[in-house]
């Protein structure tokens, strides 16, 4: 079959966009259609703020920061195979790093955001060694412990976090004269939400590029070897300890950057956003993103973040205009069986279970299947 499909056009390019050679897999964007797709995305990024309301721009900004954290978690779980239910803790670390460096020390964006990554990465590197002694179930529970111990610290370090009352986290977002919270470009004035959309999704692109470059090169292959069989990886010369701890550090750095951006978007955070049982739910949300989007894919992390963060908002908006059967019109209304929040949580639980039962590699794998079917048609793929 492979020989049948190996048809070349006169120009010497393969006629169908199939990945046949290993070099193709290692490229950033192997086919022309993928490069076109990236250009379309860039154009969308430029024009979206002009067409969407502030409400949806806010939702998309939250999707974007979630995507950055999800990419980090995918590096750890999808590529390296280490379970973490403590991702929310690192988001908290990032948010408080933003509060300290950005708000209290008034450092500019280009200083405090990298510092978020550094602090997150360092703390991740401290936690990482636990993964050397523990695996699977034990590691999952230890990372739950991180949420509780982190919650204790967040609640009590009052000079930094403001204790139970919370603290302001609206760190400055200006690069030189370009203030994303208050954009004046070419005589146009843009709102804070519009500016933040551009900033957050610019950083998503950066994070995706970084992660993609990491996983398509030597370290990425080492991480996947650790995931698939860590003893065998060690035997063929992969330093498992370094890569496991490194994966924790990098993943935490991504989460901390996302946490810093969360602080900027939210402007005010509270320890109960990240610690204890609410933190566990937040962590689970991130794991759900990479499951739904696709484990072990960078694009899947972004898709998963879009689905998981935007879906509840879409359902809420739909419910305001059209009455969904059985769903109450408000939290205290009596015209239905469940509230919108409950419906969203139910859907969330069902999505996790259904994806793991029927397509544990997520939307990315579904997309790959569809694409392969179309590309190889009429031959079975």
């Amino acid at each position: 079959m492979a020989r049948l499909l190996h048809v070349r056009r006169p120009g010497g390019r393969p006629s169908r966009s199939l990945v046949r050679r290993t070099q193709d897999r290692l490229r950033l964007a192997p086919s022309r259609s993928q490069r076109v797709f990236l250009i379309v995305l860039a154009l969308l990024w430029v024009v979206t703020p002009s067409y969407l309301s502030d409400y949806w721009l806010d939702v998309l900004a939250r999707c974007g920061l979630a995507a950055i954290a999800a990419i980090g978690l995918n590096l750890l779980t999808g590529y390296t195979g280490q379970i973490s239910l403590g991702h929310a803790f690192f988001l908290g670390v990032g948010a408080y790093a933003a509060a300290w460096f950005g708000v209290q020390q008034q450092m500019p964006l280009l200083v405090w955001l990298p510092l978020c990554a550094v602090v997150g990465g360092l703390i991740g590197a401290v936690i990482g060694p636990f993964a050397l002694r523990l695996r699977g179930n034990y590691l999952a529970i230890v990372t739950v412990g991180l949420l509780y111990i982190g919650g204790l610290i967040f609640n009590n370090w009052e000079s930094l976090t403001g204790g139970h009352a919370g603290t302001a986290t609206a760190a400055p977002v200006a690069i030189g004269p370009l203030d994303f919270a208050d954009l004046h470009v070419f005589g146009q004035v843009w709102s804070r939400r519009q500016g933040l959309f551009w900033l957050v999704w610019l950083l998503v692109a950066l994070a995706a590029l970084l992660a993609k470059n990491l996983v398509r090169t030597r370290p990425g292959r080492a991480l996947q070897a650790v995931r698939d069989q860590d003893v065998a990886a060690e035997v063929v010369g992969v330093n498992v300890a370094v890569y496991k701890v490194g994966a924790f550090a990098v993943s935490s750095a991504f989460a901390a950057v996302a946490g810093g951006l969360f602080g900027v978007v939210q402007q005010f955070v509270n320890p109960s956003d990240f610690g204890g049982a609410p933190g566990l739910l937040l962590s689970v949300t991130y794991v759900a993103m990479i499951i739904i989007g696709g484990m072990g894919t960078i694009g899947g992390s972004v898709i998963g973040a879009l689905v998981v963060v935007a879906l509840p908002n879409i359902i809420q908006q739909v419910n305001q205009s059209v009455a969904i059967p059985f769903v109450k019109s408000g939290p205290t209304a009596t015209d239905g069986v469940i509230t919108v929040f409950q419906l969203n949580q139910l859907l969330f639980g069902i999505l996790i279970v259904v994806f793991l039962l029927f397509e544990s590699r997520g939307i990315a794998a579904v997309w790959q299947r569809v694409k392969r079917y179309v590309v190889t048609w009429p031959f079975p793929s």
Binding site: L134, N137, G151, L152, N156, A288, F348, G349, I350, L356
Partner: protein
């Protein structure tokens, strides 16, 4: 001195509740090497079943408790047969996430049926207390302790002497070898989930009894039982009870003495303490005090 005894009794009773929850984890873990994150949901569901049988249908309390255990067992077996059976052999990560998904579902389904507000269980224990010298011990705590002792004894006898119990032990130690000896490991796994469901229902009743009330946050107790099972080792029933008691005692003593003697540890320290103990134990003994060391093969 009275305060110390008071705290110790309260801690032991709390620990007994953790132990019951932890036993549910252990039964499932032994059969399938799965940590069932939905166990907290089962516990909460059990409490609501007992409420429904006793308060809504008017059955006598102890009949309602047995009914709740049967209903819990059925839920456990159903969840295993319909969902977890399809995931046999998948990595632990997948199974953990599916059970978390189930937990989220149970969390939302329960208030749809029984509402958001706390409900009275109507147990005969109430908030009464017995005086032992200077120390007042609540009747519900006595019952909890008694129930844990009985459950542990039943477990011991069951695993040691019954055919099914021996089959479960065989499956726990080597699934393939057990299969080769004609043990129906599918049945073993199903029965394990049913037992876990029944024990969870019992735990739910002890948590809702004694004036606690049937409420949604009962499920959170499972999160505090995690350190207990890690402490004891994931596959040891005795470890679960010891771990539960240690965590319960530590938490109770910390809530009594830490604000006075070590305020610098911060408010809410007793909530994080189980996890702090867990991390320290894991650094010393990665497989708990009674757990079996996992053998890894390439």
């Amino acid at each position: 001195m009275t305060k110390l005894l008071d705290l110790c009794f309260a801690g032991v009773a709390l620990g007994a509740q953790y132990a019951l929850v932890a036993l549910g984890f252990v039964v499932i873990y032994r059969a399938t090497s799965v940590i069932n994150f939905a166990q907290g949901g089962f516990v909460m569901l059990g409490a609501y079943f007992a409420y429904n049988f006793h308060q809504t249908w008017g059955l006598p309390f102890y009949v309602a408790v047995v009914g709740a255990m049967i209903a819990g067992a059925i839920v456990g077996a159903l969840v295993e047969a319909l969902i977890l059976r399809r995931l046999l052999g998948r990595p632990p990560f997948v199974i953990i996430m599916v059970t978390i998904g189930l937990l989220i579902l149970i969390e939302q389904l329960v208030p749809m049926v029984w509402g958001q507000d706390p409900l009275p269980l109507g147990d005969p224990w109430g908030v009464r207390a017995v005086k032992l010298g200077d120390v007042a011990v609540s009747v519900a705590d006595f019952w909890t302790l008694g129930i844990v002792a009985v459950v542990l004894a039943v477990f011991f006898v069951y695993f040691k002497y019954s055919r099914m119990g021996v089959a479960m032990r065989a499956t726990a130690s080597d699934q393939e070898a057990a299969l080769a000896h004609g043990i129906d490991s599918g049945l073993v796994i199903g029965v394990s989930w049913a037992i876990a469901g029944a024990v969870a229902a019992l735990a739910g009743v002890t948590l809702a009894g004694g004036g606690g009330g049937v409420r949604l946050d009962i499920e959170l107790v499972a999160l505090t039982a995690f350190p207990a099972i890690i402490l004891g080792g994931l596959d040891s029933p005795v470890g679960a009870v010891v771990g539960g008691l240690v965590i319960g005692l530590a938490q109770s003593l910390a809530s009594g003495y830490q604000p006075e003697y070590a305020p610098w540890l911060g408010s809410g320290f007793d909530l994080a303490l189980p996890y702090i103990i867990m991390v320290i134990v894991l650094l010393v003994r990665p497989y708990g005090f009674f757990g079996q060391r996992e053998v890894r093969r390439v």
